[in-house]
Amino acid sequence: MPVWQSIYEELKSENFEIISVAQDTGGEEAAGYIFDDANVSYTAIIDVNHQISSLYNLVNVPSGVWIDEQGKIMRINEGTYAKEHMNGAWGTNDYVPIVRDWVAKGADSEHVWDRSKVRESIIQRTPEAERAQPAFRLGGYYFTNDNDEKAEQYWTMAQELDPTSWNYLRQDLQYEEGGSAGPEWRARREQIEGAGGAYYAPLEIENN
């Protein structure tokens, strides 16, 4: 987060904005201090219903979307760390340079995707996955109203309807023993990666 703030400072005079959206049912209490600690001056939102993930068909965090001056998507659905963490255990230093390139060159940047590539990269939802989002929303309503039993019922329903969503799984695990990055999450991740799948949609960056 401090890295994004420094990138924002660097690029904000070039008609560039960062909208950073925490997917946190726990609200301000859960996520607010992270924004505060980084002293962010870009647009900061805490999205308790994960509405941005619903609208943009995103299933994991962090995820990034590039939106141009006319509201067209230029890239979408990528695991977007600002830099490497823990000596490369996760994250990448390759993403920020392509953001810089896009801000400088706009549509002429080689990192901008064409319309068909954007369309292919948008996750298509099954009818069941479409139902997962109102189920998750209902669980969040009960969570907010301190009915943990029904929150769990509908969050479980959301996970069953859309097993591809890491957000639904991990938001729920956050409130269970083991936490959001505990044994259950690790086992699921290893299972997917063991089968040749990817936890994040792979970053596709062409380096010239």
Partner: protein
Amino acid sequence: MKTIRSIAGLTAVMLISGALNAQSATVLYNERVVELEQTLPDATDLWVKPEDLTRVNDFILKPEGACLDELCVPVLQDRDSAMFITRQGQSWFNVTELADKLQQAYVTDYNDGIWSFGTMPVTRQSFLRGGEAPDFELMGRDGELVRLSDFRGKKVLLLTWASW
């Protein structure tokens, strides 16, 4: 003949008492939580007063149908249909029937009378097919509403993350 008449009478009584006992409901859609004082009791569908329709999902009932911007779903209003009925002079609009037509998913907790609606795929074709960024309206941490459309003319990097 007598039997038929009494069954018809019974049905009428049930409909009347149903209307009199119109029950409250809660609708969740995007960020909104809409409390409806009166809906028509129904085992599977959500019937709301036409004037509540807009509060629920932004649609407006017009002579040509239920409309959202340029999209209009035809609704007969001079007789009963799956989408619209009149009981004792009170009209009711079937929100779940409209959702089905729009392929809009919903999940209901019948015990508590809570109806949670998902996004409307028919209004999202410009995103799904053309990569147009869906607009949104969310409260920013500074207390100001954030609308994506207010950032036209700028490049926007939209980032999601989470504390968990």
